[in-house]
């Protein structure tokens, strides 16, 4: 049984803080959990906090993009926050620019970004 990453709720935003080493199975579980929770809690935004992640590979990079795509299908916007410089450099060197993913420097800025864009879509 591999570890599961907890999914927390703040209002209509889901917060995922990754604190463990990402194994492939953990990532797959997270994808499933997140998709279920977005639907069951009718979330409008997802924040993935990777401040504690020091090492990434192309699988994790793709995972972030996949989660963003899944959330968008379920009408929730994804923001990846707290990426470390070394991680960013690695992803660029791997050729992953995470096109559809929005990013912010830290959790606070990420939440502000989501709130702004959620209220904008509500007005429309």
């Amino acid at each position: 049984m591999s570890e599961r990453v907890p999914v927390l709720r703040i209002g209509d935003i889901l917060l995922v803080s990754i604190q463990v080493d990402l194994e492939d199975q953990t990532v797959m579980n997270l994808q499933e959990d997140l998709a279920e929770q977005i639907v069951s809690r009718s979330a409008r935004g997802v924040v993935i906090d990777i401040t504690a992640v020091e090492i990434v590979d192309s699988f994790v990079g793709r995972m972030l993009a996949t989660i963003a795509s899944i959330s968008r299908l379920l009408d929730a916007e994804t923001v990846v926050v707290g990426m470390r410089p070394a991680v960013a450099i690695t992803l660029v060197e791997l050729g992953l620019s995470l096109g559809g993913v929005r990013t912010a420097l830290d959790l606070e800025k990420g939440l502000a970004l989501l709130r702004r864009s959620v209220s904008r879509t509500d007005r429309r």
């Binding site: 990846v80 926050v81 410089p85 960013a88 995470l98 990013t103 912010a104 420097l105």
Partner: protein, 283 residues
């Protein structure tokens, strides 16, 4: 037995009026160095070297790389290093060893066949030792050069904070892979440390942009975006703009500005700061 004889021959060659020989040696080397090193120091260095060499040959070492020569090699290493640091040329360094050959030459004229034999053998050892000196000298110089390159790298990539939430990197000089890597890391680290969401890369001081440099810039900008910051490139000079277009480099959706002032204005606007010129204070 032959070896024993050759050793005694070598020792004899070096020991025969040793004092006069050493003095002459010092005089020759001092002449070559043109007084840029104090005579007392030179005497000390060469005396040490002379006695170490004599000791080594007495112990039977007839090869520059032999076990018994380690003391001589250590002395020569020290000598070459200090010469390299003080800015002497390679020949000025090697002359310290090679002058000994010239000093020994006069002894040959009245000498017998075995003396010539001994001289030739010694001169082979001295040649090897001279080569060793030059090698050490080159190594030291390389170390100095790489240390300077590191210092230059440190000096030339400052990250400055222009405003709360706006940082800038003014790039100066030639950009290569190693330098861009340093710039990239420093910029990204500064984004985290200062919590800035706007970064400006100013390339006013960059002499030339080629496809590789552009590639590095683009990578830096994409990495900054991944972390959640926006990057603006400023200070593109007319010639560089022409080069970039001629090379077919696509900057895509990256914002470029002609001057740092324009870039700062844009960054401030994006971070919600409004600049207002006050009436009456306008020049």
């Amino acid at each position: 037995m032959a070896k024993q004889e050759s050793v005694s021959g070598l020792v004899g060659l070096l020991e025969a009026d040793g004092e006069a020989l050493a003095d002459e040696w010092v005089a020759l080397v001092a002449g070559a160095l043109g007084g840029r090193i104090s005579r007392a120091e030179l005497v000390r260095e060469l005396r040490e070297l002379y006695s170490a060499l004599l000791e080594a040959i007495r112990s039977g070492a007839d090869d520059a790389h032999a076990e018994g020569m380690s003391e001589v090699r250590a002395l020569l290493t020290e000598l070459s290093r200090s010469r390299a640091r003080q800015g002497f040329t390679p020949s000025e360094t090697a002359v310290s060893v090679l002058a000994l050959k010239r000093v020994l030459e006069p002894g040959l004229r009245e000498g017998a066949a075995e003396k010539t034999q001994a001289y030739l053998q010694l001169s082979r050892v001295l040649d090897d030792l001279a080569l060793f000196t030059i090698e050490t000298y080159t190594h030291t110089r390389e170390d100095i050069i790489s240390a300077q390159a590191d210092q230059l790298m440190e000096l030339s990539t400052p990250v400055v904070k222009l405003w709360d939430g706006v940082i800038a990197v003014p790039l100066v000089g030639t950009l290569d892979s190693a330098r861009t890597q340093v710039v990239m890391e420093k910029l990204l680290q500064a984004l985290v440390d200062t919590g800035s969401e706007q970064a400006i890369i100013d390339i006013t001081g960059v002499a030339a942009v080629d496809t590789q440099v552009a590639q590095h810039l683009l990578k830096t900008i994409v990495a900054a975006r991944l972390m959640g910051a926006e990057c603006t490139v400023s200070g593109i000079r007319p010639q560089i703009a022409q080069t970039i277009v001629a090379l077919g480099i696509e900057f895509g959706d990256i914002v470029t500005k002609a001057t740092l002032a324009d870039a700062l204005q844009l960054a401030l606007m994006k971070s919600g700061v409004e600049l207002v010129a006050q009436q009456g204070l306008q020049r």
